[in-house]
Symmetry: C2
Subunit: 196 residues, 2 copies
């Protein structure tokens, strides 16, 4: 197992105020904890990916012939599809990055870029997918009171499911955002993503 | 001017790894910077308060007699009003807290509670007001395509304004959230909200 010093790649400009802990101690405890932490992030990313992919697929397949309404006729549903597709692609990429980090022990980008990239995108996409799902909910509730849903109930049910799956994706993206925020704080404090 | 040590109130359990800087140096530079930082937060809070209050007032007054639609008949508009009213009350409280801190030099709650309280509520309420405004936008766009807006255009215009003001409130709440997040990081690093 490599020592944490060799695992760091780039961007370590902040001198640590703490005295250096001997390598053999740091490597056994800290690397193990980091691995467990990264696995937890990976699980959250996987969940966010599954839910957002499911949400966008449910929305994409939500049209039944020419006489029933189609999802792309509604702005909010287009927004739900786009936001969830973006989150799915981002989560897939981040899962790759997590697997890379767990297997190779180094970050994909230089460390300082990586922690800020993760945190910034998690925050921004969490806001994006939440606003999309809120807009989708508002539209779905309006449609329920109109004639659209009495005529083609399956269309409405499928939209509800898609929006609900989007909220689940938001939940897991929010959890990932908490963890990546914690990594940013660790990086600022220690000058490395190791939280010991 | 009191020294930063006497300005701290409670919750300082994290020993600072840095050697103590002489008080006269710390107090002149750090307290001045903290004051400027707090003034910036106060400005953002004031802006968030004004916009969210305006948004909720615009929504609240959006009913014109019995023959036109009323805002409280629509779920999403009720959500816009409630979210903006909550943010207005919270911003007013936080403005009081900021003024207290600038004038007295101490935080209103114990320091550790204060920084986490600010950051947590900023984040939660930013998500709340964004989702409310997204839902309001979706409903407003749907209404525009229906007969409601052709019959009573003023109702729709007033809803648009209310939702737009809500987005402005979100923007300033998000900026406050960035600054309070920075304070949390400073607190974790230094064991105090002073960022020097």
């Amino acid at each position: 197992m490599r020592s944490p010093q060799s695992l760091r790649n780039g961007g370590d400009n902040t001198p640590s105020p703490l005295p250096r802990i001997p390598h053999h101690f740091h490597s056994t405890l800290s690397v193990q904890k980091l691995r467990r932490f990264n696995s937890l992030i990976l699980v959250f990313r996987l969940a966010a990916f599954c839910f957002s992919l499911a949400s966008s697929v449910f929305m994409l397949t939500n049209s039944r012939g020419s006489d029933s309404p189609r999802w792309y006729d509604f702005d909010a549903f287009r927004f739900v599809f786009a936001a969830n597709a973006i989150v799915a692609i981002y989560s897939l990429f981040e899962m790759g990055v997590s697997v890379w980090e767990i297997s190779k022990g180094t970050t994909f980008f230089p460390e300082i870029l990586q922690v800020w990239f993760d945190f910034g995108h998690d925050q921004a996409f969490a806001y994006l997918v939440l606003s999309a799902d809120a807009a989708g909910t508002a539209l779905a509730r309006t449609l329920r009171e109109s004639d659209t849903c009495t005529a083609t109930n399956a269309f409405c049910v499928q939209s509800y499911i898609s929006v609900a799956l989007g909220f689940a994706a938001f939940l897991f993206l929010g959890l990932s955002s908490l963890l990546s925020g914690f990594r940013v704080v660790c990086f600022i404090i220690n000058g490395s993503r190791f939280h010991l």
